[in-house]
Symmetry: C2
Subunit: 453 residues, 2 copies
Amino acid sequence: MVGPAGYVGAIRAAQLGKKVACVEMERAGGTCLNWGCIPTKSLLKNAEVYQMMQHAEDYGITVKELSFDFAKVVQRSRGVADKMAKGIEFLFKSKKVDYFVGRGTVSKDKKVRVMGLDGKEQVLEAKKVLLATGTTPRRLPGVEVDGVRVMTSREALVVEKQPKSLVILGAGAIGVEFAYFFNAFGTKVTLLEMLPQILPQEDHETADVVAKSFVKSGIEVWTETKMEKTELTTGGVRVTVSGKENKTIEAEALLVAIGVQPQLEGLLDKGLSLELEKGYLKTDATYQTSVPGIYAAGDIIGPPWLAHVASHEAVEAVEGMFVAGKKPHKVTVFPGCTYCHPQIASVGLTEKKAKELGTKFKVGKFPYRASGKAVAAGEVDGFVKVLVGEKHGEILGAHIVGAEATELIAEMSLAITLEATVDEILSTIHAHPTLSEMLMEAVAASQGEAIHI
Amino acid sequence: MVGPAGYVGAIRAAQLGKKVACVEMERAGGTCLNWGCIPTKSLLKNAEVYQMMQHAEDYGITVKELSFDFAKVVQRSRGVADKMAKGIEFLFKSKKVDYFVGRGTVSKDKKVRVMGLDGKEQVLEAKKVLLATGTTPRRLPGVEVDGVRVMTSREALVVEKQPKSLVILGAGAIGVEFAYFFNAFGTKVTLLEMLPQILPQEDHETADVVAKSFVKSGIEVWTETKMEKTELTTGGVRVTVSGKENKTIEAEALLVAIGVQPQLEGLLDKGLSLELEKGYLKTDATYQTSVPGIYAAGDIIGPPWLAHVASHEAVEAVEGMFVAGKKPHKVTVFPGCTYCHPQIASVGLTEKKAKELGTKFKVGKFPYRASGKAVAAGEVDGFVKVLVGEKHGEILGAHIVGAEATELIAEMSLAITLEATVDEILSTIHAHPTLSEMLMEAVAASQGEAIHI
């Protein structure tokens, strides 16, 4: 239970002077650090480096006999995850968090029975328990995950042999990142999505830039397409789809990236029953579950299933438990990032959502190709789009597709959190030449005052 | 006169419905776009790509026979500058700014005589004149700039033959960027600085990381070292220095990067005299010079000689002229960036400055090596350092050295401009895994609340 909610909550509680025990079934850092955010970013970096090398001539550089070792690409990713997990274990020691490896089961009286990997059982008692068991990848009913022909993101992270062809089911952040990664190294990728756009949680215009870039780079992108049947074949899988076209696709492997499900199995003792909401633990304004003293944070309390939201919730929950007068804050504003190339990131309202809410807003856009820094770096694809309240000029949403989108979004997260206005963004001097100037220009564009377009 | 102050001021005035003429001696975009910020960023990108390729093995990628064509490296840089200059010329047309290429001379009655490149003379009349002639590189008395053995940044940008060895005099942003660039491509570089640290305007700790990285990569860095004599030799230059050591250095070329001087030659008609301050045009709170109706903005009104400050001043000056009730804002908070590797960027107070001012502050630091994103990207050198007011918890200064420092600084510029506090930064959710999380962690560290260290 020590992913980004669990370990961050534990450390924060230790900082507040509490005696803290952390129980983890597998490895410190949880899915995010071991099987999610971190190792995927390592893979994606390798892909970016490889792609840049293929375009070396653009930079006056000549390379001969460019090749890669897929096993080493995977190995670096595992090394990165291992290093970070060791880092968390080190933090536990230095911050005096007791760390138990085993399966934890919580009882009504807030006792946690830990069945160690070595078969030994221990019972921990606490005044407060924070549940943060997160989620596991959703699986396809009737299709066994064998790690070779059928994978979830977890198996894809340690795939031994690079598949020559791959069908990815689901074009959320995970599906899209793996599509970019495998395609970059030469796998023939088909990306399937039931909804009308890839990255359905993103603004339709920014998602469209990624989709077009994917198609241009050779990925087959099928939206409004439903998987009807998956059969194993001797060489891989045969996937039957319906939608825009009814057809079958043959590939060496299938990556199932259709979302997550709550991980509650074995967590609650027979005598303990917690109220659920759509399968996830229900919490009140203080992150307390239906049983007093038992709290929950992170993916296990439901969407948006994001590591940074989980950490934030855990800090809020723990401060609510132990800091006098603290009123925990429930998350409303949070960025979302997908690290494909081009990157995509957003915070706040999409245009669609703003319309649904009946909010009156103006839109400002600025393209990468008009940024001096982007041109100098040879990264001219993409744009920044901001939504600004018509009446008060407050930033309502920001959507970025292009180089460093996932870093640039931070300024807009701060702006929305602080309810910053157009005037405040424009009175902030942005360094020249940087990509961050585009945010200022997009905000200016919403008022017809952009300089460089 | 159409660098980042001139052309931005012209466009803003046109947006406000004014009839605007812009006079430029050379090329739209001025020094920044043609001979400064933009073409250097192109060169530096090539250097980064080349260096990354030398470390391809780290990413499981093998290349045989890596080589580069220096002429193509320079050519790309010129292409980028040309593209951006054309962009400005296009903007002038679309925004209806009349563009005159020639030398402009301003008279007391606000007439501007333009001596065209074709020898034709025209006289423009205006109610308001904005002077934005900027600066030129300072030269060494008695040492002629021949573009081969002795260069300023301007000549270095178009050097035909890569020098095998180079002495750079002055370790400000320009000297440091060229040191990184030439060294990356194999030139033997010696970097000389009179003051005790390179990048003297930066925090001593962040500058020190750059200095150590430079030394490790083979650059000879000599601080507290004064150039005593420069002689031309048949093969290049001989530079005699004093300081930590008295010695002579032989090299193929010398790059003089000792700052800038105001560019006022031929600008003012005999009958017009404007008040100066340390050689720069003196302006009042509305950017007006000592003669009513004649305004000035950008480098020509004195330090900090930064393109983004120049643009901001020009917008403020123009809005002050034409927007009823607008009170122009004089620049106090601005970021500074140097695009070497590792990058360095800052905004607000340095530790030294805060102490001088007697401000009580706390310091928070966070290292790149503790960031999951940095480890995944293989960019573990550097750190973030923030200064926070002890009493009110407001962000006073931020100093970043490491990957993407120049983009990450934007969030802190907004924070300081909005007088954001520790609580506000910590209540802003930063996407995981991103480098921007380090800012949040450094701010938390200032209160003893960082999670990952």
